[in-house]
């Protein structure tokens, strides 16, 4: 699903954000990516989204070899994954429904499919009663659910989330991660979630990849606190 082989990445100004990273995330896995500020987490995601290309090494995502991907194949590749950002990236003058439908509209899907899929995914994210509201009328947690609904609308096999709970009150943060876990369990969607909320990682547990100074320094399963307390 995600396969990084000896990947290094350097920005134009010479900053080496990633150094010899080897990483494999299989279909159906749920993995947290943690690390201090400036460790290279966002840089890793940029490579996975093909915003940038690795300076050396191979990046393979959903069967696409991103080193060799031609520009005109990028749209097809991007349709095979869903992205969620810390800042939600919703369009303020569109309603919740339109924000979610947008991802289908701009990828040439039929009105019929839009009318069927959007209510379904809103229902799944518990947003049905918010469909006609605008992003600014929603809480951070609700906005992130809209953004998640948009990422899920095309049923991608992989969801990449960059600090999806960074702008959300802690009580709602857990709700978002629970939803991600639920999607992971129900649909078998691979999920890669960057966070620096260690408490949360400890609470949920599971595969945790720690990046520091551009290197993978830890990659293993940790036992969640939720399980311990039970």
């Amino acid at each position: 699903m995600i396969d990084l082989i000896d990947v290094s990445f350097q920005y134009g100004n010479g900053t080496e954000a990633l150094h010899n990273v080897n990483l494999r995330v299989n279909q159906g896995e749920f993995a947290f990516v943690v690390g201090s500020s400036g460790a290279g987490k966002s840089s890793l995601l940029k490579l996975l989204l093909r915003e940038t290309v690795a300076t050396s090494g191979q990046v393979i995502v959903n069967g696409f070899n991103l080193n060799k991907l031609k520009n005109r194949q990028i749209p097809k590749f991007r349709r095979s994954l869903g992205v969620v950002f810390q800042d939600f990236r919703l369009i303020p003058d569109m309603t919740v429904y339109e924000n979610v439908a947008f991802a289908m509209r701009v990828t040439d899907q039929s009105n019929k499919a839009i009318r069927k899929n959007v209510p379904e995914v809103l229902e799944m994210m518990n947003l049905s009663d918010k469909a006609k509201q605008h992003p600014y009328e929603l809480s951070g947690g609700e906005q992130q659910r809209v953004s998640l609904a948009r990422a899920l609308i095309n049923h991608p096999p992989l969801i990449i989330a960059d600090e999806p709970t960074g702008n959300i009150d802690p009580e709602f943060s857990y709700e978002i991660v629970e939803m991600l876990e639920q999607i992971n369990k129900q649909a078998g969607t691979t999920i890669l979630m960057v966070t620096h909320e260690h408490e949360m990682v400890k609470f949920f547990g599971g595969r945790t990849i720690n990046i520091e100074e551009g290197r993978v320094v830890f990659d293993d399963y940790i036992i969640g606190g939720a399980n311990e307390s039970e």
Partner: protein, 301 residues
């Protein structure tokens, strides 16, 4: 691409125009002004062309033959002139006819005064029309080389002036069109850039969810084309009205002396199609190119 997608994207183009309506009005206004200037230049140049042609039709070379040229040689000359390219109708004026004209015109028909003079005191001549006045000088030189030709008279100065005027108009007109095309491109590019800027967030989301560059571009191309079409339409109506008013004015003001020339001014019906065509092509292409320019840098990520 689905028809529903196309409708959606085009709708977005119109929304952009409405959203930035002040910019839209400002840029349509500027484009109309540019088109009007170009339109006036084109109309002026077409009319000068038509006048040059008219003057050309009035233009003739008069080929005076040597005195005493035989009928045989004259016949040969006539057929030679018939083969010269660039000449229209050719009229032969015999030596006798020329004499008769002088008698009629200057001697009150009294041929007695000319008694004792040779029959072919007046040279025979050919009056040749010139199809393209620009060739007058060259034709004159060419025909002067022929046998038995005494001299060739051609009103080359008038034609020269007109031809020069035409050249100047073409050069000036060309320069104006180039300059205004650049101005229009800058205006359209800036207007659409404003829309692109307003929608930069949407564009970046489109990139992330896998929209193709075509999908991202279409609304802005539509915006550019609509700006161009709108301007072309308005400019056309203004030119139409303005031209007809201009015609009315010169018809009223004109003296009979000018009447002939003014009759050469073309009616708008004859100019409507080329003017509209030019405006539409100019508007649409400036719109398209402007929208492509304005997207630069926004299609990455």
């Amino acid at each position: 691409m689905r028809a529903s997608s196309m409708r959606y994207l085009m709708g977005n183009g119109f929304k952009n125009l409405w959203h930035n309506r002040l910019m839209t009005i400002a840029s349509v206004g500027t484009l109309v002004a540019c088109l009007l200037i170009v339109g006036v230049a084109v109309l002026f140049s077409l009319n000068v062309d038509s006048m040059v042609e008219y003057v050309g039709e009035q233009n003739e070379l008069v080929v005076f033959m040597d005195v005493g040229t035989s009928d045989e040689q004259l016949a040969q000359m006539e057929s030679q002139l018939g083969h010269v390219e660039g000449l229209g109708e050719i009229d032969f004026v015999s030596s006798d006819e020329a004499m008769q004209t002088i008698v009629d015109r200057y001697l009150d028909g009294d041929a007695g005064l000319l008694e004792g003079m040779d029959d072919d005191f007046m040279p025979a001549s050919f009056r040749c029309q010139i199809t393209d006045p620009e060739n007058a000088a060259a034709l004159k030189a060419q025909i002067e080389e022929l046998d038995n030709v005494d001299n060739v008279q051609a009103p080359t100065e008038i034609t020269d002036t007109l031809v020069q005027l035409r050249h100047m108009i073409n050069i000036f007109g060309g320069a104006i069109i180039v300059a205004l095309t650049i101005v229009s491109l800058v205006i359209i590019t800036n207007t659409i850039r404003a829309s692109v800027f307003t929608r930069r967030k949407e564009i970046s989301i489109m990139k992330y969810v896998g929209a193709t560059n075509t999908f991202i571009r279409i609304p802005f191309v539509v915006e550019g084309i609509v700006l161009g079409l709108l301007s072309a339409g308005i400019a056309f109506l203004l030119v139409w009205g303005g031209y007809n008013i201009f015609l009315d004015v010169i018809r009223e003001e004109s003296t009979s002396l000018m009447a002939n020339v003014i009759n050469q001014v073309m009616p708008f019906s004859q100019l409507a199609a080329p003017v509209l065509g030019c405006f539409l092509i100019a508007g649409i292409s400036v719109g398209c190119i402007g929208s492509v320019f304005s997207m630069r840098g926004y299609l990455k990520v």
